[in-house]
């Protein structure tokens, strides 16, 4: 696999947009992977339990939304590239709806021997809802090491 190199990236470059979706099945699979502390059904998988917890419907767990964001960044920059991912969960992320994940490069710099790329990342809905906003710092190989 050809790795993206630092020299190919410029300010304003875009990551994605990538359209994706967290289906009921995917959220259930995520909760199973999450482990024993998340009994199923739970507020992320069951409408009644969700309502008891003040939600209109089951939502995508924040840590799952974060993992979906990190997937898009890793697909763009390669495994092991993410140094820092700082996310704010602004609105509940719904199941079974188209979600767009996109990033914009806002800084590139060489720091402590690393080639760093900083980007704003957004997870949005079809009506323009800003579900998750994040900043990420990625380390990329230089052209010589690509």
């Amino acid at each position: 696999m050809t790795l993206l190199s630092f020299d190919e990236v410029e300010l304003g470059d875009e990551i994605g947009p990538v359209e994706t979706e967290a289906t009921d099945e995917a959220v259930l699979a995520f909760c199973r992977a999450w482990g024993g502390m998340h009994r199923i059904p739970n507020r992320f998988t069951d409408p009644k339990i969700a309502r008891e917890n003040g939600q209109a419907e089951p939502i995508v767990p924040g840590v799952m939304a974060l993992a979906m964001m990190s997937r898009v960044l890793t697909e763009w920059a390669g495994v092991g590239s993410i140094k820092d991912l700082d996310a704010v969960f602004r609105q509940p992320v719904p199941h079974n709806q188209s979600i767009t994940i996109a990033g914009t490069i806002i800084d590139t710099r060489r720091e402590d021997g690393e080639n760093l790329v900083e980007c704003d990342v957004l997870m949005t809905g079809t009506q323009g809802e800003r579900f998750v906003t994040a900043k990420a710092v990625l380390a990329l190989p230089s052209q010589a090491h690509a």
Binding site: F30, G35, M64, T74, V79
Partner: protein, 153 residues
């Protein structure tokens, strides 16, 4: 300051000075693969042992935010916050220092970092911030995670 409010917060403040260790947690291939598949990862280093070894990893690599899965199992104390009933995750910051691979045994060290009130469009909220440091069996820090939760009425 906008968004700030004066509120006498009642919770167990003695927790601020404490460190809560947990683990070790064994990272299994099954959990790594199940997590990777559930969030749509297709890179074989997260799914296939041979591909992972070919890429230089000891075993299947865990997707970057893997350690966030472990936080709910850390058995952190109830801070005794006398406010609100509903709680939701407000934010998460993951700083990654080394790749976790299946077969690792991770330990965690957690601290209550901050508890503070804010007002938003939906009314008053109280935010609780916890910091977690995850280390592997060699004592190497693999991830530093800050998670915030918002409690509201």
């Amino acid at each position: 300051m906008a968004g700030q409010m004066v509120m006498e917060l009642k919770y167990d403040r003695s927790l601020h000075d404490k460190e809560f260790p947990a683990g070790p947690f064994e990272v299994t291939k099954q959990q790594v693969r199940a997590f990777a598949k559930s969030v749509g990862e297709t890179n074989p280093v997260f799914l296939d042992e041979t591909a992972a070894r070919d890429a230089g990893y000891r075993n299947v690599a865990a997707p970057p935010t893997f350690c966030t899965l472990l936080i709910d199992g850390l058995a952190l104390p109830d801070i005794g916050l006398k406010f609100g009933r509903l709680q939701a995750q407000a934010g998460s910051r993951v700083r990654l220092l080394a790749t976790v691979v299946a077969g690792d045994h991770l330990t965690a060290s957690s601290r209550l970092k901050d508890v503070y009130p804010k007002t938003g469009r939906s009314g008053a909220m109280v935010f609780c911030l916890w910091e977690h440091t995850f280390r592997n069996q060699d004592g190497q820090v693999v991830a530093e995670i800050t998670q915030s939760f918002a409690r509201r009425e």
